[in-house]
Symmetry: C2
DNA sequence: ACGCACATGAACTCAACAGTTCAGTTCAGG
DNA sequence: CCTGAACTGAACTGTTGAGTTCATGTGCGT
């Protein structure tokens, strides 16, 4: 919508598996007016031990939720976390709240930044096709190689109807975060005259559509595109995009 | 993969809502060797009354499953169908089996045929862009206007992990059915020289990606693209596709 | 009009699971 | 080392929902 907003909000890479995550303050998102005031509203136990427990719970819950969906029992999560069920409830209040917390925590935008990086570091004379293809390749690889990224998206998609709050979380951390990034990158290319983009909103969608949506869609139904096809899809996709939006062929 | 297979397999339009469906033989799919032999394997009650009941159950179950997912209780379904719960079990054996049956029944390929139709009725001199755009528009409209089409896809995506048999059903009735259709249409256009398609597999995916995947993806997360955007997406998508695959601009 | 397969409904079993209670234990911080 | 907040384990409540049983109708086919 509006231009010149801050991109590059969350470059926190979402490594997962190894729990080497700094974990700042979990609920320190951007907007959310009405949260800065109370501050003590419904925060769980405090202290060093509590922090450890909390993290253990989130880690275990993330793993189990990603694997089995919302249907895992709280007992399982507690067991996996090496923690009493009561502790889970002391910390999060309800299963839903825990779920939302897990998704919030895991949902940092790993997409789109790649493109921004590629475009930012693009000198005047560099080959646009190569740059974008590389970025796209990295982007797709990230999606495909880290099963958790797709698993998380599918999880949110699957359970959104059961946990309505997910909608909000998703909108805030998903599209709203990296959509402006990619959008801004395209705008930058348009501004410097390397692309001609009459309808930026459509162009961004098409970029997604050509490069990542196939993976999202197929993974949603449990199948997976093989490496060779993914590669052809990426290069041809960028080709097609540039053929349409670049003023003249290089 | 192989060319010159039969397209136009299932042109049974999936109207829904009005239950004016002829309902032939529900399990009369194409391949499925090992089904023609036994024939009496696990078929439920027979007779006129039974058939009525069975249909009522499927209709009710479809409505409820599409609305609320797999979580509706069998009692609800029975009530909605005006039928005893025992009858449901007499007919289908288990909730899962009923679910699979419902999906099988509802899953006819409404996609792709449009394209085939447009291409088939294309005279030598006709404008390709207009024809494909019209087909695409109809296609997208069908997806967007009939909530059940998307609901069904989302349902399958959501519950596939709980009902593994869905994978098979999906593969048989989904991609495997209309993918060849669209694929064949493209092949036909390539054969008559109106398009130049080096990598047909990729081209089909790109056609899907540009035209329908955005709708699938966004609907999976509960949002919806507005009409104007959908229209721009369609026309620009076809444009882009043709710009890349048509030998020379008309 | 007769009989039997099919349908009913109401009560029942069984299991799982969210969330709670509580008496007792652990650990971090002062 | 002492105190209290935080944790534990285990038992408990309450609900929900799948699938079953059975005694009693009801309608289709002949």
């Amino acid at each position: 919508m509006n231009s010149t907003v801050q991109f590059r909000c969350g470059t926190r890479l979402l490594i997962m598996g190894t729990n080497a995550r700094e974990h700042g303050h979990p609920a320190e998102h951007v907007g959310d007016a009405g949260d800065a005031a109370g501050a003590t509203a419904r925060r769980g136990p405090a202290g060093a031990r509590a922090e450890r427990k909390r993290e253990a719970i989130i880690t275990a819950a993330r793993a189990l939720f990603l694997r089995d969906g919302f249907d895992v029992s709280v007992d399982q999560i507690a067991a996996e976390a090496g923690v009493s069920k009561v502790t889970v409830y002391n910390h999060f209040g309800s299963k839903q709240a825990l779920f939302v917390e897990v998704v919030k925590d895991a949902m940092d935008a790993p997409l789109g930044d790649t493109l921004v990086g590629a475009v930012d570091g693009l000198a005047e004379g560099d080959d646009l096709r190569t740059a974008i293809t590389d970025a796209a390749r990295a982007w797709v690889r990230r999606i495909r190689s880290d099963p958790d990224v797709l698993a998380l998206r599918n999880l949110v998609a699957r359970e959104a109807h059961r946990v309505p709050e997910l909608h909000a979380v998703w909108r805030e951390s998903g599209p709203q975060l990296h959509h402006p990034a990619a959008s801004g990158a395209l705008a930058e290319l348009a501004a410097t005259g390397r692309l001609t983009i009459p309808d930026p909103e459509v162009a961004v969608l098409q970029l997604y559509a050509l490069l990542v949506f196939p993976h999202l869609v197929f993974s949603a139904y449990g199948t997976e595109l093989d490496d060779a096809l993914a590669e052809r899809l990426t290069t041809t996709g960028v080709d097609m995009f540039l053929a349409y939006y670049a003023p003249e062929p290089p």
